[in-house]
Structures are given as C-alpha cells and as structure tokens.
C-alpha cells in the first residue's frame, strides 16, 4: 500500500522501516510565539531541562500582542529574548524584523517542502501549502521538542478534496476553503490531514493555496497539504531568494497512486458564490448575496490567512479611487514586513491611506481580540481572518463574519456585506 505525502514525510523522520500508528519523530523546525512560547519556556524550566538539542532549529516569532500592548506583553518578549541569548537560539524575532509567524516563517526559509515542522500555534498547518508536514502543537510539546529535537505524533489518515470546474471571477482560495468547511463542518476532518488537489488547485496562486491550508484547523484537520509543483518552487525562489534550494528529494513529495484515503470529496467550483462564514462558527457559511442587509462597523484585511501580497492587491484594486464608508473602521494588516515594504513599493499603501483605511504593523492583533481593533458589544465586523467564535474579536456580544479580501474591501466601502461586482 502506498503512502500519502504526509505519511511519507513522517516516515522519513523516524528510524522505523514501516510506519506505526504512533511515532516519535525528529523535528526539522519547532517554534512558538509571544503567547505560547513563554508557557513553553516555563515548562522547559520547570522540567529542569538545561540544554536545547538544536539551537538553530528553534524559532520564537513575536507577533500576537505586538507592538507590546502592555507591560505583561513586553515582559513576555523579554523573557523569550533572554532565553534565546542563554541557549544561543538564533531565530528570535521581535516585531520590526519579522511579521506574522505563518507568513514570515516561509519568507525566512525556516520551513521548506518535505520538512517536519511543529509550531505552538494552531495555524501551523499553513506550511502544508508548500509541501511541509506541519502540525500545530501545545507549549509542552514545544518545550520537549526544544530539549529532545523530537515530538510524538499519531500518524493521520487523509481526506482528499478534489476541486474541479471553472473558477468564477473574484472567487479565491479563501472562498474554496470556507465552502469546504461549510460542507464538512468544524470537526469534519478531526484528527485527519486534508489534502487539496485537482485542476483548480493546480491553477491557484500560492497565496490562495496558503489561505486554504491555513484554515485546515477550522475543520478540525491535523494538517492541510498540497503536493508541491513548479509553481511552489517558483514562488519559494521569489520569496525566499537564496534560502531556497531545490533538491532531488523534493521530487518525491506526492501521494502515491495507491495511497489510502479515508474519503475522497469532489467539489465543483463552477458558479460558486463568494462565501461568508457567519457568527459564531467558521462552518456557518452563506453566499455573500444573502447577507446584503448585514451592517458592519469594522473591516479587517490581513492575518496569517489573507495578509499576503496578492490579498492586498485585490483589496487595493477595489479600494482605489473610492472612499471607505463613514463610520466603518477599516484596518489593513500586512502579513509581514517584507509584504509591507512590497505593498509600499507597489503603491498599495497609498491607495489604502487615500481611501480612508489605516495600515497597521503586521500583527495578529484583532484576529484573536488581542489589540488594535477590538469590537464593542453589538458591533459587527467583516474580516479576512480565520475564526468567528463568540468574543473572538472582543466583546462576547460582538459578531465576526469571515470572508475573502475582495468581500471585506467591498463591504468597507458600503458598510454592508457586499459583493465586489455590486460596487458602482
């Protein structure tokens, strides 16, 4: 019996000849952020560990509560800086030299196709979009992986999704993923990997692919993965520069023809509406046309899901020479400083400023109700982020609608949830 791409990568990281149900595998890169890594450091110290196995395979990417929203947030960053100095951890990144971890880690070449990656952040599943086996874990997992270089895994089964048909105008990877989560539910892929395939995926941009794998966790998935192809390697050459080196072993990064899947689900995208996930679950998905009456007080464009350059280009295309509706707070969060600078170079930041948006520094900020865009009781937001749970962006009595950058930008202009084609 053949193996799926995820099983292949896991197997390559163990000493076992055959793949068992549970493996204790070598990890190529492990990381945490300014909220999960301090807890890992605490677990590390409490355990009495006094060495890290591989200082160059550990990363601390500070992105959640930055720029430090208060003294505690500042102290957590300091704690990570001090720990990094003590254990010679090279990949410590404070705010102005990184960005949101799942955007930055790819740009910095810290994750690569075929690598086994764990991160103390649930959206670590993003890197499956470039062909890594990447899994979100907890802080104790990170502490132990820092010390031993290893992590335990249950080898997952895989659901294969095959996307076919003709992509309608404005439809994005985000819409495909929201439709998928709507179809299978928030636990539809529980404990399993989600493999996205088919002719539609092959034509999809890398930024769109990453938006899909990013949200695998929202269907309960252990990983989201797309077999790498020419486009993947071309993309990595551009964003990683000399840090990306193609090697022969990457040619084996595909699921075998006789690999076993728990299920194969076909999705026809022809005529698919733009998708919006309504409060309070990412699976509560409705076509954008049915939500015209929903008024919004805030529009958030960015995050580890949709803060990449093509996302900002789409938003800028819609916002150009138009003004944001009075009273709608429109906040753009580029995913990283590289993207921020690229957006500046392309004139996108100017478009945003002229249309009445504000451009924030790259941070997780409002996505998790941390800072820089918190909702009050009774307020609604349209957001290109990934979760709309109760209280996710602030008050437990606020409402978050998840959409693509195109819908979030169009809605910022009208103050209601809006399809971009409806704009005059």
């Amino acid at each position: 019996m053949g193996l799926t791409i995820i099983q292949k990568i896991l197997k390559a990281h163990t000493d076992d000849k055959t793949l068992r149900d549970f493996v204790h595998a070598k990890v190529d890169f492990c990381f945490g952020n300014d909220i999960t890594a301090p807890l890992a450091v605490k677990a590390f110290n409490n355990a009495g560990f006094d060495k890290v196995a591989y200082p160059d395979r550990i990363g601390f990417i500070c992105d959640h509560f930055l720029p430090a929203r208060d003294k505690t947030a500042a102290n957590n960053v300091k704690l990570l800086r001090d720990f990094s100095q003590k254990y010679k951890i090279k990949h410590f990144y404070d705010i102005n030299n990184c960005g949101i971890e799942h955007v930055f880690n790819i740009e910095a070449g810290l994750v690569q196709p075929g690598k086994l990656v764990i991160g103390a952040d649930s959206h670590t599943c993003t890197y499956g979009g470039i062909g890594s086996a990447s899994f979100g874990v907890g802080s104790t997992d990170l502490a132990v992986a820092m010390h031993t270089g290893k992590c335990w895994f249950k080898v997952p089964q895989t659901i294969k999704f095959v996307y076919k048909g003709k992509m309608p105008k404005w439809l994005s990877g985000k819409d495909l993923m929201l439709a998928t989560i709507g179809k299978i539910g928030v636990d539809g892929a529980l404990y399993q990997a989600m493999e996205f395939s088919g002719p539609v995926i092959r034509k999809l941009s890398m930024d769109d692919r990453l938006a899909m794998t990013n949200m695998a966790i929202e269907a309960g998935g252990k990983a989201g993965v797309i077999e790498p192809d020419e486009l993947t390697y071309k993309y990595l050459k551009v964003v990683q520069g000399s840090k990306f080196k193609f090697n022969k072993s990457m040619e084996k990064l595909y699921s075998d023809k006789d690999a076993s899947y728990s299920e194969i689900i076909e999705i026809d995208v022809t005529g698919m509406s733009l998708q919006v996930a309504c409060p309070h679950l990412p699976s509560n998905v409705k076509p954008v046309e049915s939500l015209k009456k929903i008024k919004i007080r805030q529009s958030v464009i960015g995050s580890c899901t949709n803060g990449r350059i093509t996302d900002l280009r789409v938003a800028a295309k819609i916002l150009k020479n138009r003004k944001v509706k009075k009273g709608v707070r429109t906040i753009i969060f580029p995913g990283s400083y590289a993207i921020y600078r690229q957006a500046e170079k392309e004139g996108l930041l100017k478009i945003f400023a002229e249309s009445g948006c504000i451009v924030s520094s790259p941070t997780c900020g409002p996505c998790l109700g941390g800072h820089s865009g918190i909702l009050d009781k009774g307020e609604s937001a349209i957001a290109t982020t990934n979760r709309n749970f109760i209280g996710r962006m602030g008050s437990p009595e606020s409402f978050v609608y998840l959409s693509s950058p195109a819908v979030a930008a169009a809605s910022a202009l009208t103050g209601n949830i809006t399809h971009p084609e409806e704009l005059k």
């Binding site: 149900d21 749970f389 209280g391 996710r392």
Partner: protein, 164 residues
Amino acid sequence: MIIKGHAHRFGNDINTDDIIAATYLDSQDPKFLGSKCMENIDKDFINRVKPGDIIVAGKNFGCGSSREHAPVSIKGCGISLVIAESFARIFFRNAINIGLPIIELKDAFKIKEKDLLEVDLSRGIIEDVSTNDKFSTQIFPEFLQEIITYGGLVSWVKGQGVTK
C-alpha cells in the same frame, strides 16, 4: 485512579476562546487562568465549580487555537476530568501532555448537569451515581497510556531517557 465529582454540562464545539479568552493569554499562571475559565460563554461557571468537579461536553471539545492555556485554565479552576463525545486534536494532546485526565465517551450526552459521577480512569468506567447509569469507554492506545501513566509528557521523556 478514581475521580468523583459533579458534572458541568457544555455543548458541541466548545472552542479554546470559550475556555480562555485570548486577551488573558499573556499569563502563564494556572490560578489566574482558572479564574477566567469559560468567561465568554458562562460568566458564572467559576462560581459554581468545586474542586474535583467534571466537565461533560459534546463533540469537538477544545477546537480552535493551540493555546495550552486552555487545559491549564480548566485544571486551574479545579476541574479533575473532562469527558466529551470527542476532542479537537491539539486540545487532546495538550491535555495528555500536561496530565489533565480526559475521556472520550460517545454517550456523554446522557449525563446531565449536576449529576454525581464516579470514574475509574484506568478501567475506563464511568458511573453516574445520580441516575445509576454505567458507561464504559475504550481506554487509550498503549503509547498514550504510557504518557498518561507518567503523568504527562515531561515525566515521560525523563523516564524514557529520550534525548536525541
């Protein structure tokens, strides 16, 4: 190990933002995190919960973020065990890793709020003392049992002598 406590009922898809809101994640203190447990969905929960009590929930408990603060918060407010129809995977591994007992029970929906439960963890037997119902559940695979027996991942790693 026998656990005895009253049930606190929760529904399906209880996510980690429900368990502990993100704004509190800059703390690593179990007592503080415990005092904010379930704040977004049930403000009164921490006033009702007594040491040793048990959370009983539906499907996909702990979905959402990877924050280990969630099981830490549950432990911190005095909960001794979480029974759910199913668990989201990162919450599942976090609970095992930090030594918060969890049980997967398809019939969890039969247990009602305030029922007194007596649970034999090693045999996977749950007795609802209030209704005289008895449930048995599959115990975890050997690999996980081992980590559970050690009381969590750190002790397991130390016990195994796993270094490189």
